[in-house]
Amino acid sequence: MSLKVIGKARRRVDGRAKVTGLTKFADDIVLPRMVHCRLLRSPHPHADILDINVEKAQRHPGVHLVLTGKDFPITFGIMPVAQDEYPLANGRVRYVGDPIAAVIAKDEQTATEALHLVEVKFKVLKTITDPEEALQNPEPRIHDYGERGNIHRIQSYEFGDVAEALAKSDHVFDDLFFYEGNTHLPIEQHASVAAPDGEGKLTLWSSTQVPHYIHRALARALQMPAAHIRVIACPNGGGFGGKCDLHNHEIVVSRAALKLGRPVKICLNREEVFYMHRGRHPVLMRMRTGVTKDGKLTGMHVQTLLDGGGYGGYGAASTFYTGVLQTVTYELPRYKFDACRTFTNKPPCGPKRGHGTPQPRFGQEVQLDKIAAKLKLDPAELRLGIVAKPNSLTANWLKIGTIGLAECIRQVVARSDWKNRYAKLPSGRGIGLACSSYLSGAGLPIYWNKMPHSGVQLLADRSGQVTVFCGATEIGQGSDDVLAAMVAEVLGMDPYDIRCVTGDTALTPVDLGSYSSRVTVMMGNAAIQAAEKLKAQIAEAAAEQLEVIPDRMVFSQGRVFVPSDSNKSISFREAVEFAETKFGTLGAVGSYAPPRAPGRYKGAGVGPSPAYSYSACVVEVEVDKATGWIAVPKIWIAHDIGRTVNPVLARGQVEGSVYMGLAEALMEEQVFRRLPPKMSHALVHKIPSLLEYKSPTSLDMPEVDTILVEDPDPNCPFGAKEAGQGPLLPVMPAVANAIFDAVGVRIDELPITPDKILKALELKAKGKPPRVGPESFPAVPYPQPIFVAPPWEGGDGKETKRNDAAAVV
């Protein structure tokens, strides 16, 4: 297959707009008669609202409307299983920052003034601070749904008898890890503009990654037909998962615009973005892994405890993701995971880049480093010896396609001169290695249906122009560029000649959104299908004119021709004209849904993907033993991308992931503190500002050597897998492993900061175990596991009684 567009380094199709300031983000939208909304947010982490008086606010000059919980009787939530939020609090607030009232005024200044005039009487309730408190205190319940007490979700799955596997192992490693929460920190603050159109229907422009889900959820929240709502996802100024939820403000401005009959805008300030959060869950983990003396895994038992914050959000999915993907990287005969998510009175957690999987990945890869050290094996060799097999099933019934992981490991090992440097650098310097894998799109949508996950519609006319419509959302990753590239490749066009219309629920076919690294695979496959249909029509008409058979027509460089006959060649525009003459108005649609996953047990829907990407990473560190300061001079990363659509963008996704992973390893933490008792004793964000919430600047970022490994996957468009999330995952454990190589201490929790290094070095000097990390795992009432026999133990993918499985073996 000779590809003309795919794989070539190009300027992205929307590149010019992004460097001229012409890309229209949500807050750049200005409409006539537009008024502005600000939200009053709770100063208490947990309280009942006894009374709200908005009279003074309503009388404030310039105020058009004040809304409270009374205006929003219906709950909402992005997942059908968690309809637990009100757009404005309905009697109860559950975290500092929970919205209570909205003021819509002539400008932001006036709205802000009026917020101070809203009088709220609270009855403060006991605060649940963290998961351990949540487990110990079933009362007061933060929500009246969930498993029980303050447990939101609790579950257990076992694939083969893990206790037996561990008992028969040469060694069992039992480690605790903790991964602190952190947040997305998109530079664009969330903004939305809602406006009624001439017919009284609603349009919402928003910084959202998921316009289709917002469309559905908004119809319910506003009790309006979806046909009367149009959601337009503006290009996002960074998403990273933080713009995947339906947010309170999106519903509030929609309701306000309908009530006032005029456009209403909101743009959150930076502090509000920190409090709205929906980011990385803090997760405490226990990992027990059995190995043979030559370094093969025999079984693994993972337990996770998630701090969910005040609402459900995507938390049910996040909980699963802390457990389901441990099996797709290495051969693992038996596997068990227990997961529990608790409610706490903090901003809700949700999906951030890697959704639920970076936390256990950190533990898994650090533990592998410990295993290698104990068995006196090279960590790279250990991993090369256990890489999962292509075209195989995992213990938990996930179907793996291609795996470029071994090549990724070999690449980073060679480029970093690993063999001459690992365990051989002078004290204070070290290198560490880790691997990972990730979804190329979630196998199921967040609400149950059998419809396409992505739809693409193509329009071509006699002018020779081609317009492609798709609900996919550009969040910086290059969604529009992938769409144009796929269509251009099939039709032999220049991608810049294709017009993309995306992320608009009124105009574009449904695409589920920019999350779970699904866009390239799902939208790409749908686009190819649509383009092939259109191509067939054009080829048939052109062939008729040129008196050849359609199969001989080649589409390339804007022409349609027979390669062997220079007389049989017409321009693409002429060919379209013939096709429009022959068939009438031209159009084609394509759609895509992932293949059905083999797992048949309840819960098998989380984890399957059309393809898994793989990454390997080596990090070099220099640790100052006097100060604990950690410097990272260089990172090598190899990513199994299947096939590269545009190397410029693919490299950007990989390096952006490395950046964010490094930030999580060393700096970022969404942490809370108590205000003094004489104030409110409230649980507030410790550092809700871009200055204090540390993220790497240009001066902190090391050189990154990026290698794209291509092993095209047959499920993927031209073989292309994801690149936007997977390469984040190995960075944090590679940093931790490098620190061990440098100074011989284990930091089993993130972020790794100089004070933790110093503490570990001090322990080492005293002859104690040189480790800093969690010391205990609380008693969590995990249920009896759902037992499923792995494929190689005669299972059929369904839940079974343990004894039945044993009988089959």
Partner: protein
């Protein structure tokens, strides 16, 4: 005490053009540019001087427009991303940023472009360390900065006579 006027009327000089504008006197330059002059190319990420997204050039120097009051800027030369291209011809920085992947979501891009312009206006012979230093006040969450460094270096190469 003199009464504070509801609005002030000033003549700005933006991107080489005179721009008469009336605005509330508490407004920052950022707000005047975006809200009163409709120059929404300049972005905001914090409005507290922390992220660098709102950087513009004031008399050739990169400044955070969220920390400058509009009333301070009368008579000063203000340059924004909208004035970077020469008609339809992109500035070499814009060309290089677009070609080399220096703009992913594009939100921090205008601020970084203007900061980089100030750097290259002074000296085209900049090394990697000087580039890192110059844009260290501009946060980017997408790229990991590598492709931004390379784009600025490439633009400097293209701009050398």
């Amino acid at each position: 005490m003199a009464a504070v006027p509801d609005r002030v009327h000033l003549n700005f000089l933006v991107n080489g053009e005179e721009a008469p504008v009336s605005f509330a006197p508490y407004k920052t330059l950022l707000e005047v540019l975006r809200e009163d002059l409709n120059l929404t190319g300049t972005k905001h990420g914090c409005e507290l001087g922390e992220c660098g997204a709102c950087a513009v050039l004031i008399d050739g120097e990169p400044q955070l427009s969220c920390l400058a009051l509009g009333v301070e800027c009368e008579g000063k030369r203000i340059e924004t991303v909208e004035g970077l291209a020469n008609g339809a011809t992109l500035h070499p920085l814009q060309e290089a940023f677009a070609d080399l992947g220096a703009a992913q979501c594009g939100y921090c891009t205008p601020g970084i472009l203007m900061t980089a312009k100030a750097l290259l206006d002074k000296d085209l012979h900049v090394n990697r360390e000087q580039i890192k230093e110059a844009i260290s006040g501009n946060l980017c969450r997408c790229t990991g900065y590598q492709q931004i460094f390379e784009a600025i270096e490439e633009a400097a190469r293209r701009m050398k006579p």
